[in-house]
Every structure is written in C-alpha cells, then in structure tokens.
Amino acid sequence: MDNCFYLLKKPEKKPFYKIFAGASAGFINGLFGGGGGMIVVPLLTCFLNYEKKVAHATAILIILPISTASGALYSIFGNLSVKIAFPVLIGSVTGGVVGALFLSKTSNKTVGLIFAAVMLFAGVKTLLF
C-alpha cells in the first residue's frame, strides 16, 4: 500500500519509524494536549504500511495511554480541574454520540473540507489574536 509517493521507505527501518511515530505523537500530545492522532495516522499509513482504517483505529489505541499520562501530568501541575472537566465531559459524550450518528449521513469529503477550513480559521485566530 503505497501512501507516500514521494518517500523512499526501507523495511529494515521499521523500528526507527515506530520510534519516530511514537515520539512525535507523544511529544505533541504532551505539549499541546492533543493532535497526536493527526500526526500518528499518516506516519502509520505512510511508513508502516497500515491500511487507512486500521491506522485510524489503532491510533486511538496508541494515543489513549499517552493522553492518560499527559492528563495525569497536567493534573499534577495544576493545569486541570475535575470540576471544570465534568461539564465538558458530559457535553462531549453527548456530542460524540450525535457525531457518530451524523457520520453515516455526510460525505467524508465535505466533512474533511469543513474540518480543514475551521481548523485554519481557528489556527489563524489563535495565532494572531
């Protein structure tokens, strides 16, 4: 499955790719409290030849312990409060269910484009204002 036409992949470097994938996803996860999944998925498909769906699913399994560790650290450093987390948790579980139902009804391309646009907008606003 060649997902990166511009890169030369060497099978014997697999452990290195894994280390790089883990390290970068973990670092971003700790530094930014998220986004690790978006880094690890292309690394899995591109360098480790995961199928796209498997990459997405496995990425969650990889990021879960990492997020837990980061979350614990954030909590220890006082950057997290259960009191504030609770309403967000409730909202997100509800939203998650709604989103999952929604997913079957919209085209991937539309969602992907809207997502990119919103992220771009959010990024610009966060960076500049």
Binding site: G30, F32, V54, A57, I66, Y74, V88, M119
Partner: protein, 119 residues
C-alpha cells in the same frame, strides 16, 4: 460558563464522533470563545479524549480494525516523549504556548486539506 463548557464539549464531541480527530477543535473553542486558559483547555481536551476513545475502541476492536501487533515500541516512546511535552507545556508562557498551538492548527489544517483533496 458551565453552559459554555457543555456546549464546547458537545461540539468537540460531535466532531470527534465523526472521526475527525475532533479534540483539536475543542481547545480553540474553549480559548477563543470562552476565554479559558490555554493550558487548562489542553488538559481538558486530554481528559475528554479518554472516555470517548474507550467507547470508540470497543467498536473498532469488534470490527477487528485495531492492529495490536508491534505497537508497544510506539507507545513506549510516546509515553516517554509526552512527559517531555507536558513538562514543556507547563513551563512555556501561556501566551506563547497558545500561539504555538495556533500555528500548529494552521499546519495541520493544510495537511488535512491536502489529504481530503487527494481522495
């Protein structure tokens, strides 16, 4: 304020439920719309991810979409480096961290756009 947190959670959850790595939008939602501190928003995003991912994983496991073989190395290095990242996040000045995150979002959005268009 609580209302804002719930709403942000819902929106973040909807996007996450659609499989779009939704957590990433929760943070700017919290910081830009509700003025929540960047570090706190990041911490919230981390926590929120946990229950959602457990649910998602049970579904993915049933569909046999999860490849567990050989991921220990990835996870180990992930854990090691997330410690480094978390320490840094705690040390860097909040405003700089926030803007750095903004830049990160922009970069990711470009890749996301390229990925979507490629298909």
């Amino acid at each position: 304020m609580i209302f804002g947190l719930i709403i942000s959670g819902i929106i973040g959850g909807v996007i996450g439920g659609m499989g779009m790595g939704g957590g990433t939008l929760l943070i700017p939602l919290l910081t830009e719309l509700f003025g929540i501190n960047q570090r706190l928003a990041q911490g919230l995003n981390l926590v929120v991810f946990i229950p959602m991912s457990v649910v998602a994983l049970t579904i993915h496991f049933k569909k046999r979409l999860v490849k567990t073989e050989g991921i220990i190395l990835i996870v180990l290095f992930g854990l090691a480096f997330c410690v480094l990242g978390s320490f840094l996040a705690n040390k860097i000045e909040s405003d700089i961290l926030k803007r750095g995150f903004g830049a990160f979002l922009i970069i990711i959005s470009v890749f996301q756009f390229m990925r979507t268009v490629k298909n």
